[in-house]
């Protein structure tokens, strides 16, 4: 019996992984060979997907990208014995793309069966929770604090401080919530993790629960991720069946329950207070802060709100210790960040590295330049509310503070590349349009400002009074930035202003029509 690993990640599925798996089954049966296909997550090298690995003499030999039509030829080449074939890549882990990565949060993604608790435990899973259960709650929080872990959802707030605040609230019902409303274009690390290693998120939330005295967790998952929903619910059921969730977590006598709640297609619910409103069954309108969710959150109770990657990193921190994690990174950005390369890029995918590498390394060493072969003119970092960064700034290190100093933000670590055919006025207009579509409507600068911004940019596109309209656009951006209740209206000016600042030639001198 030979084991073949075929990704079941939705990115791999979108490139035909299910069809490849079926073809392997058919071909093996026709040849009377015994194989079992294990569906894993994706290793994140999407230009090689579907990336199939064959277990052979204690190694995993990779072949990719495999199409169903390649399968008979792979059997002909004796791939079950590691036979040579034009698609053979050798051991996946030794490819330059992977060998230079520092996979901590993603240590198991693409390697293990996401639904299998035994596989998870065999690869270092649940050691963190075991350790946390043997410690005082304050000591667990102290570990997270000392690791330097900051919120990976985008705001980069120190996770340990958030947890400490919840811990310090009077005993009573508290909640751990996971913000899995990954709506930023160019980001997919939450999805990959939930589809590839959901038990690490489940373990992280359980650790959070035991650390702050919360007995109930909710994962707020966006409706656009039906595949992640299936993986998560299966993994949660498996964790319950093995007593890693429920009334007696790992025999500790402590309770932690966890369920997934589906969002319904509202970008603004990625904002933490909107998410809480939505979890309570209401319109996802932002709440005015204070009070902070850590003091008065879900159903008015003290609540941790953390991103998927943040929570999924906690088990490793508890297992290896705070110092181990803090040993990676630069400045105040400690640890690693799973970066996502997207858009017009030759080798798109997930690169987990310690903070400090440059955008250029990411775009050219990992990404291989643009997919179109044309020069990369701009990248948008951190989603639709992130700034556009011009090629002149590609030597900036990936670090929260270094990017902020250049007027950009790292956000959730998604990087979308554009070649030199991009029209930056249209991208600025799209930023305003997206804000108008997704505005919750609660505050005027966001609700009305975004539509006025679109109109101004339409005038500029038509070449009408560009200088006057740019002045009005700047005034509007300042108002949205200062006057909006949350990041949606308050940060839409970032892509708009950065487009104007770095690509002014696109805005002025257009033919009038």
């Amino acid at each position: 019996m030979t084991t073949i690993y075929v990704p079941g990640d939705s990115g791999a599925l979108s490139l035909g992984a299910d069809e490849v798996c079926a073809a392997i089954g058919r071909e093996a049966a026709a040849r009377g060979l015994e194989v079992q296909c294990v569906r894993t997550g994706s290793r994140g090298a999407y230009w090689l997907e579907p990336l199939v690995e064959v277990a052979c003499a204690g190694k995993r030999i990779a072949y990719g990208p495999v199409s169903p039509a390649d399968v008979p030829g792979l059997f002909d080449a004796h791939w079950l014995e590691g036979g040579a074939h034009r698609l053979q890549l050798g051991e996946a882990g030794r490819l330059v793309w992977f060998a230079n990565q520092q996979r901590l949060t993603f240590e198991r993604v693409g390697l293990t069966d996401p639904h299998c608790v035994a596989d998870y435990v065999a690869h270092g899973g649940y050691q963190g929770l075991r350790r946390a259960l043997s410690m005082a709650p304050a000591a667990v929080v102290e570990q997270v604090l000392r690791s330097g872990l900051r919120g990976r959802g985008g705001a980069a707030f120190p996770t340990g401080i958030k947890w400490k605040t919840v811990l310090e609230q009077a005993a009573g019902q508290k909640y751990v919530t996971c913000n899995a409303d990954e709506g930023d274009s160019g980001t997919f690390s939450d999805r990959m993790l939930m589809e590839g290693d959901p038990l690490s998120l489940i373990e992280g939330m359980t650790i959070a629960g035991t650390a702050v005295g919360a007995t109930q967790g909710y994962i707020y998952l966006r409706a656009e991720y039906p595949h992640a929903w299936r993986t998560l619910t299966r993994a949660i059921a498996a964790a319950y069946a093995a007593d890693y969730l429920g009334a007696d977590v790992m025999g500790s006598g402590r309770r932690f329950d966890l369920e997934v709640r589906l969002g319904a297609g509202a970008y603004v619910c990625g904002e933490e207070t909107s998410m809480l409103e939505s979890l309570e069954g209401r319109r996802g309108e932002v709440r005015v802060r204070p009070p902070l969710p850590a003091i008065k959150g879900l159903f008015g109770r003290p609540t941790i709100v953390n991103n998927v990657i943040t929570l999924a990193t906690v088990p490793l921190i508890l297992r290896e210790g705070a110092e181990f994690y803090a040993g990676f990174g630069m400045g105040k950005s400690r640890g690693t960040l799973p970066l996502q390369l997207a858009g017009n890029i030759k080798r798109g995918g997930l690169v987990e590295r310690a903070f400090g590498l440059t955008l250029r390394e990411l775009l050219y060493d990992y990404g291989g330049g643009s997919a179109s072969g044309r020069p990369i003119r701009a990248v948008q970092i951190g989603g639709p509310l992130g700034a556009y960064v011009p090629a002149a700034q590609f030597d900036t290190p990936v670090d929260y503070e270094a990017l902020a100093a250049g007027g950009a933000m790292l956000g959730h670590g998604g990087i979308v590349a554009f070649d030199d055919t991009v029209d930056m006025v249209r991208m600025a207009r799209y930023a305003m349009e997206f804000c108008a579509i997704e505005s919750c409507g609660k505050c005027t600068p966001c609700r009305i400002g975004s539509t006025r911004g679109m109109e101004l940019l339409d005038h500029i596109i038509q070449g009408r009074d560009p200088r006057g309209n740019l002045e009005r656009l700047e005034d509007l951006c300042e108002l949205m930035l200062q006057g909006s209740l949350c990041g949606l209206g308050g940060m839409t000016p970032f892509p708009v202003r950065s487009a104007v600042q770095h690509f002014r030639e696109d805005f002025i001198g257009r033919a009038q029509h």
Partner: protein, 163 residues
């Protein structure tokens, strides 16, 4: 075939009984109703409001706030085309335009024969394989106008009988 209104009401009542005692149940109820019926029938708003001790305005407000919830039946197939930045960077807008022209409908509309609804989506999280679309919940990456034509033609095949 659309479910008769009386069956729909029974379905909604069953769902309410299942979810009403859970914390913050409205979105869960709406998801379950849409999964069972295909949309949120306007006549069920009052029933849901009563069942959860909310006002009709509360329920209507939630249904209309979220892009995912529909107040009218969708086509038998749903094609979601991503229109966000990563897909725009590699021809997503041309693909969107192609879909509109090919189907003869705009976004948020269904073909006159009720076979397919065209919907925009702002990120499917498949950005390393842009442009991305989803057809009936199945993801497809690196989409081109020609491949999209192939997918749509497959829907016309005889196997695609009345759902």
């Amino acid at each position: 075939m659309q479910t008769p209104a009386v069956d729909q009401s029974q379905e909604v009542s069953r769902i309410l009984a299942q979810f009403k005692d859970r914390p913050g149940p409205l979105l869960e109820v709406l998801h379950a109703v849409q999964a069972a019926i295909g949309f949120i029938p306007p006549h069920s708003i009052g029933l849901i409001a009563e069942g959860l001790n909310l006002s009709r305005a509360d329920v209507h407000g939630v249904v209309t706030f979220y892009h995912h919830f529909r107040s009218a039946p969708p086509g038998r197939h749903v094609l979601q085309v991503c229109r966000a930045e990563s897909c725009q960077a590699v021809g997503g807008e041309a693909l969107a335009e192609h879909a509109r022209t090919r189907l003869g409908v705009d976004f948020h509309e269904s073909t006159p024969d009720g076979r397919l609804s065209l919907e925009p989506v702002y990120c499917l999280g498949n950005c390393a394989c842009s442009p991305a679309v989803m057809l009936d919940g199945r993801p497809y990456g690196r989409m081109t106008p020609a491949r999209l034509d192939g997918l749509l033609a497959a829907l016309n095949a005889p196997a695609d009988t009345e759902a």
